[in-house]
């Protein structure tokens, strides 16, 4: 076992921090660390918190963390903010809303930049959550800006997904378009002291009741005011109730099976892609093939088939 993994399992916060860095950088030692901690994962309740920018996710995450701390749980938080598409840099500001948690020894917060990598964010965030799980966190909150496919992928890696919405940001159809209805286990209408709450609530409920199949769990639509903490206790209760429901209904196992399948396939895809590129597709050849496609001398379908045949012949 690597020293970092052993130290992490022994409770070193420094080792946990370094392990997350290794995973995030796709460093050579990352795989060995993940392999070593894997038997010690699966115990944490992973909760995704997602929603549009400015909805109050960080403040709400701070409150949810405190509610679980009050119940005696150790809490990990992975807070994802976007990287600049221009410089690749990022300003990660979620800690501004989590100041009170900074010195709680039962809390570990890690800010993560999306880095715009091809689907890598979801894997990095899930791996960071797994490392926190192995380090003994009973609850891991993964907070992301809910726009786009990678955020949906992150939600898939959670046991319970809380979608945070605010009144006055478009009608319920916007929520359907964004694809967030399907991923929500719980809706929190935050900033519920503002106008437009009953309308948003009615729209969400109407859309939820349009579902053809009656699901065993109908996502509750809750009101919160993250600034004051109003409604947070009820939100935390519903999160706990959702996990209990998943356990009783067998949903937890089926979700985790689906997640394991997706993870195996994703890792396989990435490994294959890396191998094929290394074996047959150096940058010059890729550029030459791309030029042929653009000049209509070749088509991408035939070229792909030829490359695969070249790599896996015999």
């Amino acid at each position: 076992m690597t020293d970092t993994a052993a130290d992490l399992l022994a409770g070193s916060r420094r080792a946990l921090a370094r392990a997350i860095t290794a995973v995030e950088n796709d460093a050579p030692e990352a795989e060995a660390i993940l392999r070593a901690v894997h038997p010690h994962t699966g115990g944490a309740h992973v909760i995704g918190v997602t929603g549009p920018p400015g909805a109050g996710k960080s403040t709400l995450t701070d409150h949810i963390a405190k509610a679980f701390r009050a119940a005696g749980e150790r809490v990990g938080i992975v807070a994802v903010d976007p990287s600049s598409p221009f410089s690749g840099g990022a300003i990660l500001g979620d800690r501004i809303r989590m100041g009170d948690l900074a010195l709680d020894p039962g809390v570990f917060i890690r800010s993560m930049a999306s880095r715009g990598s091809l689907g890598g964010l979801a894997r990095h965030a899930a791996d960071a959550a797994a490392l926190m799980d192995a380090a003994g966190m009973g609850v891991v909150l993964v907070e992301t800006v809910g726009v786009g496919q990678s955020e949906v992928d992150i939600a898939r890696a959670a046991d319970t997904t809380v979608v945070v919405l605010v009144p006055g940001q478009g009608d319920g159809v916007q929520a359907i378009k964004a694809g967030i209805l399907e991923i929500a286990d719980i809706f929190a209408i935050n900033k519920a002291d503002r106008d437009g709450v009953p309308q948003l609530e009615a729209e969400l409920n109407a859309v939820l009741d349009l579902a053809e199949r009656r699901p065993a769990w109908r996502p509750p639509v809750l009101r919160t005011v993250a600034k004051t903490g109003d409604g947070v206790a009820e939100l935390a209760e519903n999160i706990v109730r959702h996990l209990a429901h998943l356990r009783e209904s067998g949903g937890l196992e089926s979700r985790r099976l689906a997640r394991a399948e997706a993870e195996l396939l994703a890792r396989l895809e990435e490994g294959l892609r890396r191998r094929v590129v290394a074996a047959a597709l150096p940058p010059e050849r890729l550029a030459a093939l791309a030029a042929r496609v653009v000049r209509r001398e070749a088509d991408p379908y035939t070229l792909t088939a030829e490359l695969l045949a070249e790599c896996f012949a015999g």
Binding site: R13, R14, A17, R18, I20, T21, N25, D26, A27, S83, S84, F86, S87, G88, G89, A90, I91, L92, G93, R95, I96, G99, A102, L103, F108, I109, R110, S111, A113, R115
Partner: protein
């Protein structure tokens, strides 16, 4: 892929954060990942955040005149966590006469008002890259 991670933070009771934000923005535009904590951080909070975020650099914005108190306390909190090798820099209203003693205790560089942001970025890139 590795990226330089910088903690930009403001200790104490001073509420002027424009300088810290300008520097944070310059770091982001240079491709660094900046963890921005906002105001009123204690040395203990800063050291603990640096540990959890596994940063390469801590940048402290100080306009309150408390630099001769804050830096030694931060350095001792960092040492307690085994983080004394982090690159520690400061910026703000800090008298020239105080800089040598701050450097002697382990602050890598102090950037006073009027410093072009590019100079700070270059320093960090050279020392932490």
């Amino acid at each position: 892929m590795k990226r330089i991670r910088v903690l930009v933070t403001k200790p104490g009771l001073d509420g002027h954060d424009r300088g810290a934000k300008v520097v944070a923005r310059a770091f982001r535009d240079a491709g660094f990942e900046v963890i921005y904590t906002g105001l009123r951080q204690t040395p203990e909070m800063i050291a603990e955040t640096a540990l959890q975020e596994d940063v390469d650099v801590i940048g402290l914005s100080l306009l309150s005149g408390a630099h001769n108190t804050i830096f030694p306390r931060l350095i001792s909190e960092l040492k307690a966590r085994g983080l004394e090798d982090l690159l520690l820099i400061g910026g703000g209203v800090i008298p020239e006469g105080d800089i040598p003693s701050l450097k002697a205790m382990g602050v890598a560089e102090i950037f006073t008002p009027g410093t072009p942001t590019g100079k700070i970025v270059d320093f960090v890139a050279a020392r932490a890259g």
